[in-house]
Amino acid sequence: MYRYDEFDRRFVAERVAEFRDQVARRLSGELTEDEFRPLRLMNGVYLQLHAYMLRIAIPYGSLNATKLRRLARIARTYDRGFGHFTTRQNLQFNWIRLEDVPAILGELAEVEMHAIQTSGNCIRNVSADHFSGAAADEVADPRVYAEILRQWSSLHPEFSFLPRKFKIAVTAAEHDRAAIQVHDIGLHVKRGEAGEIGFSVYVGGGLGRTPMVAKKVRDFLPEAELLSYCEAILRVYNLYGRRDNKYKARIKILLHEAGVDEIARQIEEEYEQVRRRGVLLLPREEIDRIAAYFAPPAFEELPARSVTLERAKALDAGLAEFVARNVTTHKVPGYASVTISLKAIGAPPGDASAEQMEAVAAIAEAYAHDEVRVSHEQNLVLPHVRLDDLPVVYAALQKADLATPNAGYITDIIACPGLDYCSLANARSIPVAQRIAERFGDPARQREIGDLKIKISGCINACGHHHVGHIGILGVDRKGEEFYQITLGGSGDEMCSIGEIVGKGFSSEEVVDAVETIVDTYLKLRQGPGETFLAAFRRLGEAPFREALYADAG
């Protein structure tokens, strides 16, 4: 877990005091809305469709019981008893009163949390693999580098007014669970031939109205040069990124317009100047100091197979199903990582009640070394659980309605808040997700379909990551009616691809049937249960799906 140092504590406290004064001045009329808007956005406060929304930063999705209980308390005291976990591994409260925000920020500061840089044209919350520190396939703990980047980018004077927002993601596994190739900077932590740490650096990925897969600009950046190289990238972007048109202001557009070779050349040129000064080479002792924050918990020496778990599974089919789907191999024998699905059938994706947050906090304390993660897929993760403890963890999750065994299934849907909450949206997302989940809710049917990621956005800004959904759904407004455009074949992992639009959109009434037609077509044409939807799509192309969807239309 990250730790606040004196500097963190001081600047967060100062910011809370500053914003308390700004809110008071706004409420007294001393500040107009035009004057106040940029100030509130700097503190994560948006004015949404129904009320103020407060977005809280959760560094690389890292929580513990204390933080989670505090979020639950805020949900209960200041909101309507629940919060919404986002694709940036953050949390949003949808019903906040402006006058309460300073008190909430004060409560967050007490548990080393804040809402700084959750909005605005700055470097946003750095995200990372939600299985960091636990994944059997990682070469190092990516949180160490995410934390170094967090410290460097927090209130960075040079990069607080970029042309547009800037997002960084880090993974340390070949299988990319952090969607690094759809970020402004994606970092893949690797080991070199001598075992030394370095990074493959990707630049210029992003979704939104112009989806693009990032380009690799460095195959192996030495560990110590992480910040100097990122500084060079940000400098080039800050200097040449467009400020005349916010729709063309992200670094992906700069890369697209100037060409990757030219931008890579500029980055390297800038980097050479930064490097020559040698001011941003990471000292070994500093890397080690940060790494100590993420020292593994005291794992016990356990057999790889748990007799307790196997016996319990034999007696409880529900547990067996949960383990098969929501439990992931851990790097340490006798342990596992547990995905807590926030996608109960019919529930809004990513929402958790205060009681559910408290239940997870209690489980984490008792059975998971006090660690909880938020995944970009809007689920929670207990990274370190003993296999022996899985039956009791499962039972506790069941009590809190958090044991839905659907991780990675068709009902594990990412959905943005959409027109139910968001002032930018054109169409609703959550009700579509709810209806799809209900249509496919039967466990046997989900098992038969296997891995399939549906992602839904309520507008072109693509907060629901629809471009990288195996099935992506984009809500649009067509003459006052909600319509949904479907894309197929997107993927946010190491084989990153942007989904292709399959044809004309569907009405709200039609869209769930359309998804079912796509799924049925896949089941009919796949080469067996081992061929996933994405693999089948890549083999078949969109033609059979388009034909099935639009056959009746002639």
């Binding site: 007294s28 129904h50 402006l98 019919g346 809004p348 949206a425 009700p431 909600e482």
Partner: protein
């Protein structure tokens, strides 16, 4: 995304309350109310401009934030926004169905 009202039919003025952020509508007596049925209904460009001016003055007095006109229609004596976005705002909350998970969790 917010769209400017076309103004061909009846209209009301909406905004968000400064302190709570909640959706409000301007009533004939100048109060800002939560229920759209209590909103002042105007017809025609001139009436709409007068209402919007009054609302803008309220925004300048820091009562509400970002007032704007909304196209509505009257149905069975009720005021109904024409656009879905505004209908969702007027309803005071999301269209999401009650979720059993919440109800269950609250009982833990």
């Amino acid at each position: 995304m917010k769209k400017d009202a076309k103004g061909a039919g009846p209209q009301v003025v909406t905004a968000n309350a400064l302190e709570s952020g909640l959706v409000v509508f301007r009533a004939p007596d100048g109060r800002w109310v939560r229920a759209i049925d209590e909103a002042q209904l105007v017809r025609g460009r001139e009436e709409a401009a007068v209402l919007l001016d009054a609302a803008t003055a309220d925004a300048a007095r820091n009562i509400v934030v970002e007032p704007y006109l909304v196209d509505v229609r009257e149905e069975d004596g009720r005021i109904m926004p024409v656009l879905l976005r505004e209908a969702i705002r007027a309803a005071g909350g999301p269209t999401i169905v009650e979720v059993s998970a919440y109800l269950h969790a609250a009982a833990i």
